[in-house]
């Protein structure tokens, strides 16, 4: 055993920069995520379901290649709405809570890093994993659609992919907030699934009931629907692919007439709020709470 001893006057280099630490943590998180079972299963499920949607819409046209905007994009939008938030919420929810549960969080915090570096690193790593999953799934769908000769616009696939990723970022951010608040990973994931159910089903159904029972004005209906990031994603992708929202009936027509080209900015604003606010809150919680 040679000279492992440290001299008291040893001059150490300064700690690594925030950027470097964040990237190190992000790569670590990406590697862990990609090797995990959830990533594999979600990616598989997303791709298989996407391919099923593509095949069904190809078959439904009787080989004519006719689908207009059609069920293909609608089906994929629907699929993204169902799978991506669940994937992002549960990935985010598991991230910090499971480290905390294993004692890994305090061990990491005992290293020369800041807590916000850990949060941001994990966020970026998981975001990259989600982007990989989404682009693999949708890319495979695009290849199938091209092979089947469906008249689907390639731009619409890029839009869909980009917006799905943005939705994933928002949901990941919410998941990570849940994760910093929960003591146990199982509680965090449970809460995430509850939030998912709320966003996917309950809020829409409640709003539908409200629209029918209270005869909500379409302005109100549109404004309220902007609160739900899933609705924002849906409206934005329809708007981006089709350049209008009339397929969504009176409320969609109202939105386009009232806001026109501002709609992109409005949708983007809603999404950015959903990404930044929970992440900032998570950062505050993480810096104040004991990592145990």
């Amino acid at each position: 055993m040679t000279t492992l001893a440290a001299s008291p006057n040893l001059v150490l280099p300064g700690p690594p920069s925030a950027l470097r630490n964040t990237m190190t943590l992000a790569r670590r998180e990406l590697r862990d995520a990609v090797r995990s079972r959830w990533f594999f299963l979600y990616t598989l499920a997303f791709t298989v379901l996407g391919l099923a949607v593509s095949f069904v819409s190809a078959a439904g046209t009787g080989g004519s290649g006719l689908s207009g905007f059609g069920r293909t994009t609608a089906g994929l939008v629907n699929l993204v709405l169902l799978v991506v938030p669940l994937m992002a919420l549960s990935a985010g929810a598991a991230s910090i809570a499971s480290d905390r549960e294993r004692g890994m969080l305090s061990y990491l915090f005992a290293q020369p890093i800041n807590r916000s570096e850990l949060l941001l690193g994990k966020f970026l790593g998981l975001a990259a994993a989600l982007l990989a999953s989404i682009s693999l799934g949708l890319g495979a769908c695009a290849l199938i659609l091209a092979w089947k000769g469906l008249r689907t616009n390639p731009q619409s696939m890029f839009w869909l992919c980009g917006l799905a990723f943005l939705l994933a970022l928002g949901m990941l951010s919410v998941g990570m907030l849940i994760s910093t608040l929960a003591r146990r990973a199982s509680v965090a994931v449970g809460t995430a699934i509850f939030v998912w159910l709320m966003l996917v089903f309950v809020s829409d159904l409640a709003l539908m009931a409200g629209a029918v029972a209270l005869r909500l004005r379409i302005e109100t209906l549109f404004a309220v629907s902007l609160v739900n990031p899933l609705q924002v994603f849906k409206m934005w992708s329809l708007h981006a692919v089709d350049a209008n929202l009339d397929v969504l009936g009176p409320a969609g027509l109202y939105a386009v007439e009232e806001y026109g080209s501002l709609l992109h900015a409005i949708f983007a604003g809603c999404m950015v709020v959903w990404v930044l606010v929970p992440l900032t809150l998570a950062s505050v919680v993480l810096s104040r709470r004991s990592p145990l």
Binding site: L4, G14, P15, R20, T24, D32, G103, Y107
Partner: protein, 303 residues
């Protein structure tokens, strides 16, 4: 090197650390001694900046809260148990923590060789035994050759053999010049590794002594280490106290100081109370004296 100045820390309404001040010079080796719940681990977490506390702690002049990154860069930390991601590889773990410590060129083979893990680099962390995991943690702690080593009951989850090996390894690697702060409730660890012992109880520093004095004072003849399943420990404490003993709790069971002629007496008391004993060790006076002698020897060889 480590300055702990009037540090207090509460969990809700219970006081875990109560106005502790401690100055640890570079090259010193300090054991925190005390029963479970005394506040040893909490104090160590404060030193690492993991908890919010009142007072101040500085490492080589860096405030652990305001300059946490700088402070922690000086520290190698070994926890009681590692909880790595299941799929993480040993070499990967080393590379990852090396980067966090700002090191670019780290040879995992050499690093692992130092802690006797040569040839295990390709394994997953979960494939390692408990003792090997702790050695990996030590290897990671020593990355970048930090001037301070902080250990938190590092042998608590190891069996007798693993414990012995690990303490021997620590003794070899801690070397001269490195500042050490560790929590323990094992006499042999304290005797082997510490130069000073800080006795803590209910969050307060009760006494600070040299390791040699501490070991000498502790030698009542013998100390029985009784391994008792957790649910029965409180009952065992009561029974032994009623039987005229002065037991204390540690991580796996009870420590009972006994006179050399009455080493079996606690067994009788517990048998009557129908409390099962899983295992036991006897640290005899001779053994303790041996440890004390080693501690004296260490003091004489170091400047």
């Amino acid at each position: 090197m480590i300055t702990i100045d009037h540090v207090s820390m509460k969990f809700g309404r219970s006081v875990a650390v109560d106005d502790v001040s401690l100055d640890i010079q570079a090259g010193d080796s300090v054991a925190l001694w005390g029963p479970n719940g005394a506040g040893k681990t909490t104090l160590i977490r404060c030193v690492l900046g993991l908890l919010r506390f009142r007072g101040s702690i500085t490492l080589a002049g860096h405030d652990v809260r305001r300059q946490g990154k700088h402070a922690r860069l000086l520290v190698g930390y070994v926890p009681q148990e590692l909880g790595f991601h299941d799929e993480l590889g040993v070499n990967e773990a080393i590379g990852f923590f090396a980067r966090l410590k700002g090191l670019d060129r780290v040879d995992p083979h050499t690093t692992l060789d130092h802690v006797g893990l040569a040839g295990h680099g390709g394994k997953r962390v979960r494939e390692l035994s408990g003792g090997m995991k702790q050695r990996l943690a030590l290897a990671i702690a020593l990355l970048g050759d930090p001037p301070v080593l902080v250990l938190d009951e590092v042998t608590a989850s190891l069996d007798a053999v693993g414990r012995g090996e690990f303490v021997a390894l620590l003794e070899r690697l801690s070397g001269a010049g490195r500042t050490m702060l560790f929590a323990s409730h094992r006499l042999d660890e304290v005797a082997t590794l510490a130069r000073r012992v800080v006795e803590i109880d209910r969050g307060r520093v009760r006494r600070t002594t040299s390791a040699a004095e501490f070991v000498a004072r502790t030698e009542h003849g013998a100390v029985l280490h009784l391994h008792i399943a957790a649910p029965a420990r409180q009952a065992a404490m009561r029974s032994l106290a009623e039987g005229g003993f002065a037991p204390s709790l540690n991580g796996v069971g009870l420590l009972v100081p006994v006179s050399p002629s009455q080493k079996a007496a606690p067994f009788r008391v517990l048998a009557e109370a129908r409390i099962a004993i899983d295992d036991f060790e006897v640290v005899t006076a001779n053994h303790a004296a041996d440890l004390a002698a080693r501690a004296h020897a260490r003091r004489e060889t170091t400047p």
